[in-house]
Structures are given as C-alpha cells and as structure tokens.
C-alpha cells in the first residue's frame, strides 16, 4: 500500500439539546459544501452519537448558544473532538464558516489532499476469485500482491492507471471490478454466468493479445529495434509500437495515454518477468501449503 493511511475529517451537525436545529436548507448547503471539500458529514441529535475516537477527528457543529460542550451528554472537547458554535452565524455564512474551520483542522493534522487522485483501482470479488494469479502476472505496475497466506490482493491502489480496466479482462472469473467503470460487469453489476461466457472472455483477450501481451510487445519491439539499427529511424520503432497498442486500446478500452506512457519494451520485459515470478512463487507456495495441509478449514 503506497498511500499513507489517512482519515478524512468528520463534521458532525449536532441538532439535539442544548443546540437548536438547522433548517433543511441550511443542512443542504452544509452537506454539499462539506462533501465538496472531501470531508465526511453526519447529522445527529443524540449526544451519545458524539464520541471521542482516537483515529478519527471530528468537528462538532451546532447552534449551542454559548453552552457547548456543557451538556452532560456530550463529551469534553479535545484534540480529536472540536466544537464549533455557529449560533451567531447568519444562514448565508454558515457553510463558509464550517468549511473554513474544517480546512484549518485539516492543515493542522495534515489530512490528505482530497483532489489529488481519482480513486481508480481494482476491487476483487472474492466470491468469484480462484486465486489463479493471472492478474498479478499481467499487471506491470505492481498494483497486485499476495497476502501472508498467498491470497491475491490489491496492495498499491494508487499505482493503478486511471480509467484503465485491462486487468479485469484477463481475469477468467470476471472477479475484478472497477466501481467507477462505465459498464458491467466490470462496474460491479451482477455477473450472469450464462451470458458472460467466461471462456469467451478468456479467448477474446488471448486473441486480442496474441496469447501474451508482453511477448507481443516484445516481438514488435524486436522487429522495431532491428529496423531501428538498420535505418536509424527511431520514429518507425515508435510507430510500430503504437500500431500494436491501438488495437489493444480499442478492444480492451485502455486509455491511449496509459498505453503511450508504458515504459520502454526492455523495461516492460523486465517488469513482466518480475510479475510472473511473483505469481509463480505464490502459486508454488499455495501448492506446498495445500500439500502440507490437504484438508484446510
């Protein structure tokens, strides 16, 4: 996991005693603006729903009329629980006042930069996954890894190439989802086994890639290289590589910018070998585990 474990600040709109409630329009504006800044927001009128959590910082906002947090049901303020009395704020200023305070707290705690990365990454459906490791050996960017018991898992979410669903197409079980993808079953729609023709998916990808994307790229690059050495024409090598990639891009819906940002063929080869070795090691370790313990759980 290369993203640091971070938490978004949570805003709590407190509308119970001793606070007076917000109007629905005030709530709408507060919810929209706070979500727009990447924070979470909760509405409650129950004092017991406001608690101190070591891992999550909360900003409790209410029209407390100067009484916060004197109410016996509410905890004392502290580092992870900050109160904001907005009794004096006119409705028009309310959202700015709350988002301003939330942003200050975020800076103090160095919370994440919400806008910096579109959360695009594979989500594995473990009801379908057979732990075959094809995704691990396919991905060049180290998104996949294995757990301590050699189970496939997504480890480096932010290494994934935004909008690229390619690995979902190499999974023979249709077990890889990208929740923000446009179409099913990759977006999480139910996989209809009779319709999906799992084998067809497999065939499609292998016909598309000529069996192995990396050997295809390698062949092309070798051809391009030999021409390159004869003709000293680097643009031809590039054109050759692009031709091969255009088909991939069309058939597997891989964004062109992802394909164009692929490393050099040599680097692809190196990474592909590394990924296959990882997958092979995991498969071997699983076999050994099964041999040692033939009847698990």
């Amino acid at each position: 996991m290369s993203l640091t474990q971070t938490t978004a600040l949570q805003v709590i709109l407190f509308e119970g005693e001793p606070a007076t409630p917000f109007t629905p329009d005030e709530r709408k504006s507060l919810f929209r603006q706070i979500l727009g800044r990447g924070f979470s927001i909760r509405r409650t009128s129950q004092p017991e729903a406001v608690s101190v959590d070591q891992r999550v910082q909360s900003l409790v906002v209410g029209r407390f009329h100067g009484q916060s947090p004197a109410h016996p049901g509410l905890p004392e303020s502290g580092q992870n629980l900050v109160f904001l009395d907005v009794s004096d704020q006119p409705a028009a200023n309310l959202a700015d006042c709350v988002t301003g305070r939330a942003a200050e707290l975020q800076t103090e705690r160095q919370h994440f930069d919400h806008k910096s990365w579109k959360p695009w990454f594979p989500v594995i459906d473990y009801d379908r996954c057979t732990n075959c490791m094809q995704c691990l050996s396919f991905c060049l960017f180290g998104v996949y890894g294995v757990s301590d018991i050699q189970q496939i898992q997504v480890q480096n979410h932010d290494n994934c190439k935004t909008n690229c669903p390619a690995c979902s197409r190499v999974c023979p079980e249709a077990a890889i989802m990208f929740p923000k993808y446009k179409a099913g079953p990759i977006n999480g729609e139910i996989v209809n086994d009779s319709e999906i023709q799992r084998e067809k998916m497999k065939v499609d990808i292998s016909s598309l890639l000529g069996g192995d994307i990396y050997s295809l790229l390698r062949d092309r690059s070798d051809r391009a290289k030999s021409r390159f050495s004869k003709e000293r024409d680097s643009s031809k090598a590039l054109t050759e590589r692009q031709k091969c990639l255009v088909k991939l891009q069309k058939d597997a819906d891989i964004p062109p910018e992802v394909l164009m940002s692929l490393p050099s063929p040599e680097e692809i080869q190196r990474r592909a070998a590394e990924a296959s070795a990882k997958a092979e090691a995991a498969i071997q370790a699983n076999r050994q585990r099964q041999a040692a313990n033939p009847d698990p759980e």
Binding site: T7, P24, I124, D125, D127, S147, Y181
Partner: protein
C-alpha cells in the same frame, strides 16, 4: 429506518457514474427527512486510503447504504477488512435506481438485506492491522 439503524450516503465525488440528479435529489431528501444519517465524499477513496473511519461507518447493526452496485460495495468494504453483515445491510444502487426509489428504501422502517451471497473472504487488510497495533 429501523431503530438504531444507520444510513450511509456516498457522494461519489470523483466520477460521473452516479447521475448527478439522483445524487442531488437523494441528498436533498435526506436533509429534509429529519433522519440521522451520514455522508461520505467518496467511499472508494476511503477504501484506497484505508481510512479508519470506515470501521466507524458501519460499526455493526442495521445499515442502509446509498452508493452503487451491491457487489462493488460489498467488496469495497470487504477488501478494507470491514465486511458488511449480509443479514443487516441493504445497498441502494444510485446508478440504476431513481431518487424516489432510493429515498423510499432509505427512509422505510424495514430493512431488506440484499448483499450478494457468497462465502468468499478477503485477506486481512491494513484497517485490521491498524486496529491490532493499538
């Protein structure tokens, strides 16, 4: 929503996959309802960042989630190490259902569990590890 039940709304901030008009109308409806509820900016982002607040979000008990496809939501939580309780969770799909349908499910007293069946298990995740090291 059933007593002690939670309502969680995902604003799917980083993509246009949930129609804006559905998201907006569901958000407005919840603001008008007077119910207790919680909204997150982007559930996918929280999972990728192993946000410890994920555990707090579902925290046991009945839960209704307004987000996207139930299979995706099931495994987003599952992969973060905080699996949803299939008997106590209902997921409303804002990609497919109308705002009226979603709101009526969220505000209805009854909970109709609809987490896709299956006994698959995700490996332990960093949210668990963070818990253990406390």
């Amino acid at each position: 929503m059933a007593e002690n039940g939670k309502i969680l709304y995902c604003n799917c901030a980083h993509a246009k996959v949930v129609p804006d008009e559905v998201k907006e109308a569901v958000l407005d409806g919840l603001c008008e309802s007077g119910l207790e509820w919680q909204a997150v900016s982007d559930l996918c982002e929280m999972v990728a960042r192993r946000d410890p607040a994920l555990r707090q979000l579902h925290g046991g008990g009945p839960l209704k989630v307004a987000a996207c496809y139930p299979r995706a939501v099931k495994w987003l939580f599952g992969s973060a190490g905080v699996p949803l309780d299939p008997a106590q969770t209902q997921i409303c799909n804002m990609r497919e259902e109308s705002a009226e349908q979603v709101l009526s499910q969220l505000t209805h007293l009854e909970l109709t569990p609809n987490v896709p069946e299956g006994a698959g298990k995700a490996p332990r995740e960093i949210v668990d590890e963070a818990e253990d090291s406390r």
